[in-house]
């Protein structure tokens, strides 16, 4: 039988205590390590700069239904606002954020973004020399992979050479919102904030609470707790989030739009074929134009109105150069 004397006992206790202390110090270092502030622009709520040269501020492309129509509309509307090279430089890391809100509907029900539109954007970005193009969303129902597959987006994106990324827990980090009004921080997906180019690709659809879901509302899919935004000051909260996660390019998918019972829909009779793509660097302008497809204006959509008031962009469609394209 081995027994220890007092000296040994004390030595062991000391060693044990030292180890515990070191571990605790290490762990506390981890938890209070400095937040890597993602270097926000000096003022997040300045309106976006005007487009270079004589490119349009906003482009709307329309056409007759055909298999290649979504791709054509995306290409032509983007070239009207200065071409993809205006946004994507060679070697850039690009994230495309479509609306893949759940796994329960296939694309024809117009509750998720049109897969062809997303694929066309992936191809454009890669063509402009992007290092990698990732596509992601944080669905509220169903697993991400089920949602990616059922929306048809996974297949289309892979065929175009892009990657689907499941938004992983570790990258949702508490991040301060310097210009926040209703919320001063949020748990946002870091890559969305840090990426070279962020492209917001909402599908234009009805929403039971926010009237419509467009580009600004679509950015709710980059935080881990979107439910908590549904409060009295929802419009302000979503605007706060948009000051942090600011897309460089907004492409509103209105190939098919959901006219009622959004955001999930589920009947083809609620879907309208509008064969339209709206592009702009200005999220408020793009959303304002999107509202007109439903016979509304930005004044009817609280989130867009709040964004305009905050200076995220302009909702006055008469003050900007709009190019209409018939394809």
């Amino acid at each position: 039988m081995s027994s220890i004397d007092r000296r040994q006992f004390l030595e062991r206790m000391l060693a044990l205590g030292g180890t515990a202390l070191a571990t605790a110090t290490f762990l506390s270092l981890l938890s209070c390590s400095k937040e890597p502030t993602p270097e926000p622009p000096s003022d997040n709520t300045t309106p976006p700069p005007p487009p270079p040269g004589n490119a349009a501020y906003l482009a709307v492309a329309r056409g007759e239904s055909s298999a290649t129509l979504p791709t054509t509309l995306v290409q032509r509307s983007i070239s009207a606002i200065g071409g993809i090279e205006r946004f994507v430089k060679p070697g850039n890391d690009v994230i495309i954020k479509p609306n893949i809100c759940g796994s329960g509907r296939t694309p024809e029900y117009a509750s998720t973004t049109n897969p062809e539109v997303v694929a066309a954007l992936v191809a454009l970005c890669l063509g402009a020399g992007a290092k990698r193009v990732r596509v992601m969303d944080f669905p509220f129902s169903g697993t991400p992979n089920d949602a990616y597959n059922n929306s048809g987006i996974a297949e289309a994106v892979r065929a175009a050479g892009g990657e689907m990324e499941v938004m992983t827990s570790m990258k949702f980090q508490d991040t301060p919102i310097p210009n926040g009004k209703a919320i001063t921080s949020c748990r946002v997906y870091t890559d969305i904030v840090e990426t070279d180019v962020l492209i917001d690709v909402p599908i234009a659809k009805h929403h039971s609470d926010t009237v419509l879901t467009l580009g600004m509302k679509n950015m709710m899919g980059v935080v881990s707790n979107p439910q908590s935004y549904h409060t009295a000051d929802m419009a302000e909260r979503v605007t706060d989030l948009n000051t942090l996660a600011r897309p460089h390019l907004v492409v509103v998918d209105a190939i098919r739009i959901l006219m009622k019972n959004g955001p999930t829909g589920g009947k083809l009779e609620w879907v309208k074929q509008t064969n339209t793509i709206i592009t702009s660097h200005d999220i408020v302008a793009a959303d304002s134009y999107g509202a007109t497809l439903f016979g509304k204006t930005a004044l009817d959509v609280p989130i867009v109105l709040a964004g305009a008031r905050r200076g995220l962009g302009t909702m006055d469609l008469s003050s900007i150069k709009i190019e209409e394209i018939a394809a």
Partner: protein
């Protein structure tokens, strides 16, 4: 030296087989969890297991075809004896590896009377099954290991990984490595996105308890308690291949008796091994200095069992079970706790008691983590049966995987369109907690989320006084009971802190009636 060579050869063969089988077990379990297609059926081990097969068929008094695979195991045992226990059983393998004692201390003595316990446990399991409850299937070794890994080990591993990753991700220099690590591990070892889980400490403690029994005697569980070991022990009494000792060569060194991990060798009886106990691990063959021990086919049956069961004991265990089942069935008295017993789609309470072997395959596969092993939250009869906990996870509208994998059909394999109309429960709004109802502030999360085409939650615009006493219009959610299928997405996503303001309750007659009388 020849014997040394031979000995290490057998040891390595057995160890390799054990590792391969354990790896296969974990591969099927993890493949099932992350939704990968596996080479073999996910529930292979449950079908190979004659105990779960036999008890499920007894309980239900119905023939379950895939369970016939268990006959393979019985056949193997008839030929080779209890090889399952030291070559195949993944729990046995772990118990082999967790023997804390460097040398088996059979000198500690026999505990021979304890051996019969496993037969009593076996008969208890089978009698209980005959009486229509599979509660005791929780004692089956395969279900024990599966449940522990799926509800204890993997969720723990997942939350530990997420916790560590999230903290380390704040360091820019580590992000590249973490990206790669995360991509490697999610979707392969851990699910792509793992939501919340009840920490199943009870299950872990149960498992650790079984490992800890090794401290009393090596492989205590296998020797004395395991009902599957008991069943295979009964069969192996008449097995063909057995151990024999060449009395000419034996020099009575007692080494075999000392080394035997299950203490099957009796030095008083010419070092013969009890065929019901011997697991053919070949340790004695490896270690015999005179090579007196051989394992070979022996056409004549073994001598009468060295230690056996009396009729009285068998009858006794039946009596105990009768009383036990009666006590378990007291549960309906616990009405209160039954209120929230939501079962997987299409599963009735009767199915659960009679068909569910508590294996945890449904818990493991549910991609949205709606299904959790019930504690006594159900009742004592239904311990560790699958229960839906919508606040933690909801039943995904386009998923019917639990029915596809259930090895006994306790959860029916419903085609998706049918599953989408199967009522799990009905949602009720708690007007005292619901934001629009209690604070006159808009919140439509439950309505927005409802996956049904004809949503089971509708919004009413109502003019009310807000907290400042001013008239305001608020949109209040209202449940259309007849549409609701109880998937629980609304309860899961309800933004109220703590208990949700909309909750799913089982759709028994009483709840229905209460609703109608209120309406």
């Amino acid at each position: 030296m020849a014997s040394k060579k031979r000995s290490s050869r057998w040891r390595w063969i057995r160890r390799s087989v054990q590792i391969l089988v354990l790896a296969l077990f974990l591969y099927l379990l993890i493949g099932n969890r992350v939704g990968a297609t596996t080479l073999l059926p996910d529930d292979l081990f449950f079908h190979l297991n004659p105990l779960t097969g036999l008890s499920a068929m007894l309980a239900e008094k119905r023939f379950i075809a895939p369970m016939l695979l268990g006959l393979l195991t019985i056949g193997l045992t008839l030929v080779l004896g209890r090889v399952w226990c030291s070559w195949i059983c993944p729990l046995g393998t772990l118990l082999d590896w967790t023997n804390l004692r460097r040398r088996y201390r059979n000198a500690l003595g026999h505990l021979s009377q304890w051996r019969q316990v496993k037969y009593l446990v076996l008969f208890a399991v089978l009698f209980a099954a005959l009486l229509g409850t599979l509660s005791l299937a929780i004692l089956d070794p395969i279900t024990i290991l599966f449940r522990t890994v799926t509800s204890g080990v993997l969720p723990g591993l997942n939350s530990l990984t997420t916790w560590t990753e999230t903290r380390l991700y704040r360091f820019d220099s580590l992000q590249g490595f973490l990206d790669g690590f995360d991509r490697f591990i999610r979707g392969h070892l851990l699910p792509a996105a793992e939501p919340y889980f009840i920490p199943s400490l009870v299950l872990l403690a149960f498992f650790i308890g079984i490992l800890a029994l090794n401290a009393i005697r090596p492989r205590f569980w296998c020797r004395y308690v395991c009902p599957l070991g008991g069943l295979l022990g009964l069969v192996s009494r008449v097995s063909l291949v057995r151990r024999s000792v060449d009395q000419e060569k034996c020099n009575s060194c007692r080494r075999c008796a000392r080394e035997c991990p299950v203490n099957a060798i009796d030095s008083e009886k010419d070092y013969a091994a009890d065929p019901a106990e011997c697991t053919l691990c070949l340790k004695c063959v490896e270690n015999c200095p005179t090579r007196a021990i051989a394992v070979r086919p022996q056409p004549q049956p073994a001598e009468p069992e060295l230690e056996g069961l009396t009729r009285r004991q068998v009858l006794g265990s039946f009596g105990v079970m009768l009383a036990g089942v009666a006590l378990l069935r007291l549960a309906p008295l616990l009405r209160g706790s039954e209120q929230r017993r939501l079962r997987p789609p299409g599963t009735s309470e009767d199915d659960v008691t009679k068909k569910c072997i508590r294996c945890g395959v449904c818990v493991n596969i549910c991609p949205t983590r709606a299904i959790h092993p019930s504690g006594t939250g159900a009742d004592y009869d239904g311990v560790w049966t699958p229960m839906l906990v919508p606040r933690l996870g909801y039943c995904d509208y386009i998923c019917n995987r639990c029915g596809q994998v259930c090895p006994t059909g306790a959860i029916p394999n419903l085609p998706l369109p049918e599953k989408q109309q199967t009522v799990i429960g009905r949602a009720e709004i708690d007007e005292n907690r619901c934001i629009p109802w209690s604070q006159s502030v808009n919140c439509i999360v439950c309505q927005e989320m409802c996956p049904l085409v004809e949503k089971a939650i509708e919004l009413d615009d109502v003019t009310v006084a807000n907290s400042d006493g001013l008239e305001t219009i608020v949109r209040r959610p209202r449940v259309i009971i007849d549409r609701c299928i109880g998937c629980g997405l609304c309860e899961h996503q309800c933004p109220v802190n703590g208990e949700a303001a909309i909750r799913v309750y089982p759709d028994d007659g009483e709840v229905q009636q209460r609703r109608r009388s209120r309406a």
